[in-house]
């Protein structure tokens, strides 16, 4: 390569890179969504530990669609993430919704009590399973496609029925849908291009949307002593405790290497008092109460309410987290319920939420 050519290349790359980076900041805002259909669905919280999870996925297109799904068990053994992966395939006819529970899965049996077209053999997860589910839209041969047809919801909880001491908790969240870019007029903007058929799904605003740079969350301060609502309703004092569930934005199912990332963040309370969220690691999967030492007490505020931003630590290889917050509201009489919140995506560069490229590697069976 000549010096001139090389210089030109560098200049072009620099200009393009600037443009692409800027545009990635804006365009990726369309790519991750909990409301629009996508080609990759992420359910950050799937459990079968006394509470169960009902997964519902819908094909919103008027054509048949296939999906390749991966359960990931986020449990740890001796401090090491197990990262056990179980995968299965779904076939959805046009506009078909389907559902199953994590504990039971769904067999292919038209005679069973689960009515509807069985989308495929869905294995049950093991007792005690705590992890996530990721589904990728593929063609019949297993190659990724980008028709952005899938949406999903998850309902987590259990209903034991009326009675003293019974546990009746249910929370619902929308799956995070990642859009395939497809073309410059697609969800990723001008940088968008077609999906190639390899097993590496690039979340880079070219193949698929890049990861948003962070997440916002509102929370009720841990350990405030008395909740702000239940007391006023005549069943106080109540307690609110929240739990954060997060997985890294990315996965490597081919090499079965759990993706790890280090996150940090900032918290503010109602009197603007700021506190930093200590650096914490996500090795494949994280579920932790907000008052755990892991967060350095950042969520134990002197005021009732607070807000926070969670971003990846600025270091090579770190990716943002994708997650939900589960709040448990317990009244004075012991009755309780959970509410699960999808976190807001942060794309504000002023808040250090620069989008991050990542990838999902599928097993290459072809």
């Amino acid at each position: 390569m000549s010096t001139v050519k090389g210089l030109r290349t560098v200049v072009i790359a620099g200009i393009l890179g600037t443009g692409l980076a800027l545009y990635a900041g804006a365009a990726s805002a369309q790519g991750f969504s909990t409301e629009r259909p996508g080609s990759i669905l992420i359910f950050p919280k799937v459990i079968n530990n006394g509470q169960d999870t009902r997964i519902q996925i819908t094909n919103t297109s008027n054509s048949m669609r296939n999906a390749h799904c991966f359960y990931t068990n986020g449990a740890s053994f001796n401090g090491q993430p197990l990262w056990q992966v179980t995968d299965f395939d779904l076939v959805l006819t046009r506009q078909q919704p389907t559902s199953w529970t994590a504990s039971a899965g769904r067999p292919v049996n038209p005679q069973d009590s689960q009515t509807g077209l069985d989308p495929g053999l869905i294995p049950p997860v093991a007792d005690g399973f705590t992890g996530s589910l990721l589904c990728v839209e593929v063609d019949v041969g297993g190659a990724p496609v980008g028709s952005n047809s899938l949406i999903g919801t998850a309902t987590v909880g259990t209903i034991e029925g009326p009675g003293i001491g019974a546990t009746n908790v249910e929370g619902q969240y929308n799956a995070v849908a990642i859009a395939a870019c497809n073309d410059p007029q697609g969800a990723c903007g001008a940088s968008g291009g077609a999906i190639d058929t390899d097993n590496v799904l690039s979340l880079d605003n070219v193949e698929y949307a890049a990861c948003p740079g962070g997440s916002y969350l509102n929370f009720v301060s841990e350990g405030i002593g008395e909740d702000p609502i239940l007391s006023g309703l005549g069943n106080g004092p109540g307690i609110v405790s929240s739990n954060l569930t997060m997985i890294p934005c990315g996965a490597d199912f081919e090499n079965l290497v759990p993706v790890s990332t280090t996150l940090n963040g900032q918290v503010r309370d109602e009197f603007e008092l700021r506190s930093s969220i200590s650096q914490f690691d996500i090795d494949c999967f994280l579920t932790a109460s907000l008052d755990e030492p892991l967060f350095g007490g950042a969520f134990n505020r002197p005021t009732t309410f607070g807000s926070g931003i969670i971003t990846p630590l600025s270091a090579p290889g770190n990716v943002p987290g994708i997650g939900v917050v589960t709040s448990l509201w317990t009244a004075a009489d012991g009755t309780s319920d959970t509410a699960i919140t999808n976190l807001h995506f942060c794309t504000d560069e002023a808040a250090d939420c620069t989008t991050v490229n990542s990838e999902i590697r599928l097993p290459n069976f072809r």
Partner: protein, 423 residues
């Protein structure tokens, strides 16, 4: 004479250089275009998972022991916790909010609050109402606040009256409680400047948690959270026109100007849900995107037809429709049957009719005669677990998804535009 291989003559170098220069100019132009595009706000339909300049909470409910009528011991009291955050870490923001009171009243709008004719004295009808009340606040940089709809928030933290240890600026405002108890309705908030004009900024994060509990002991407590539906601000203009969601509706008066332009409403709402059973029911709350907050009577007389396509797991399709007048909160099984549980078994939303456990419903606002209000819809869903006719054992709330892009015909939110108040 032909040249082979990689030999380059001076001639060719010049040609290549020129061509390269042309290419470089082309690439630079393209890159510049990219840079420009990157700095132009990308319009997107309303979403609940990004911060925004205009946010709607379609479902706010209150009924407490202090209501009229009051919730008695053993009854189910409910309140809505609302959390609003200024995600701008460096600047304070002003926010203008409206409570939209969708309570129905017996006979006239000053009669007792009711849900149906059965709640009224014989001969009186339960007449839908629609009243609007607003309040304003200023949030300091990064400030989160929370309040119950039943009680409001008299003075904000960091208000000069109640300064806090970390306050770098002054908040202000008085969040009034909802005007009636019981209450059902909406909360709408828009980011404004010091003169109450919309600003092209997107710093609001809003969410609601609907909490109910049995008064006393021995019942159930439920909690359900959903995110506010956010509309990204994309432009502002001087004038006294409405907030435009997408663009001005086709029938807007000539010369109308959008004082604020926001992301359009979704074209088709998509709801994944279980079909109703005797122990599980889902409630759908729909509100029009377009509303007249300045003259509520205009909105009270305006309705949007919601066309619904229902698919079960067999890919079988049904359809029904409903009229959304200002505010609609209905159990799915009551959309196409008489209100109440008696006819639930005959509804297209019942598991018995559908034959499958879950389904999807696509909801579209049907375009009517062109006017100053558009026909978009937004909403949320809530599922209740427990035997029908008794207090729910648990509840969930979820944002509806957007399956059809965004509406091309615009929607408009008209709001109180007070003239120059003078010195």
């Amino acid at each position: 004479m032909t040249r082979e291989g990689t030999e380059r003559s001076d001639e060719m170098r010049r040609v290549n250089a020129n061509g390269s220069a042309s290419q470089l100019r082309l690439v630079t132009l393209a890159a510049a275009a990219l840079v420009m595009l990157g700095t132009v706000a990308s319009a997107r339909a309303a979403e609940s998972d990004y911060v925004a300049g205009y946010v709607v909470l379609p479902k706010v409910v209150v009924h407490t022991t202090g209501g009229t009528p009051a919730v008695l011991a053993g009854g189910q009291a409910v309140d809505t916790l609302i959390q609003i955050t200024n995600t701008n870490q460096t600047d304070a923001i002003n926010v203008d909010c409206w409570w939209v009171n969708a309570n129905s009243h017996c006979g006239t709008d000053t009669g007792p609050i009711c849900n149906s004719n059965a709640d009224c004295s014989p001969g009186l009808q339960c007449v839908p109402g629609w009243a609007v009340l607003d309040f304003t606040m200023t949030l300091t940089p990064g400030q989160p606040i929370g309040f119950g709809a039943a009680s409001g928030l008299g003075n904000l933290p960091c208000d000069p009256i109640f300064p806090g240890p970390g306050c770098t600026g002054n908040s202000s405002g008085n969040i009034r409680p909802v005007p009636e108890d019981p209450f059902r309705g909406e909360l709408k908030c828009v980011q404004v400047d010091d003169n109450d004009n919309p600003v092209e900024a997107n710093d609001l994060k809003v969410e609601a948690t609907i909490i109910s509990t049995t008064v006393g002991v021995g019942g159930s407590t439920t909690a359900a959270t959903y995110n506010g539906i956010g509309f990204e601000a994309t432009a502002t203009a001087a004038g006294d026109g409405p907030l435009c969601l997408g663009s001005l509706p086709p029938g807007s008066p000539a010369g109308s100007v959008c004082t604020g332009t926001y992301a359009p409403c979704p074209n088709i709402l998509h709801m994944e849900h279980p079909f109703d059973t005797p122990t599980l029911s889902t409630e759908l709350v729909l509100v029009p995107c377009s509303e007249d907050l300045g003259e509520p009577s205009n909105s009270a007389d305006f309705s949007v037809t919601a066309q619904m396509l229902v698919y079960n797991e067999f890919e079988q399709r049904f359809s029904t429709s409903s009229r959304v007048q200002c505010y609609q909160s209905t159990r799915l099984s009551d959309i196409d049957t008489r209100p109440g549980t008696a006819d639930d078994a005959f509804s297209v939303f019942s598991a018995g009719v559908q034959g499958t456990a879950v389904g999807q419903t696509r909801i579209r606002g049907v375009r009517g005669p062109d006017g100053r209000l558009g026909y978009g819809l937004i909403g949320v869903g809530c599922s209740s677990y427990g035997p029908a006719g008794s207090a729910p054992l648990a509840t969930t709330a979820f944002n509806l998804q957007n399956a059809g892009g965004f509406r091309e015909e615009g929607d408009a939110v008209y709001y109180t535009d007070f003239p120059n108040q003078g010195p």
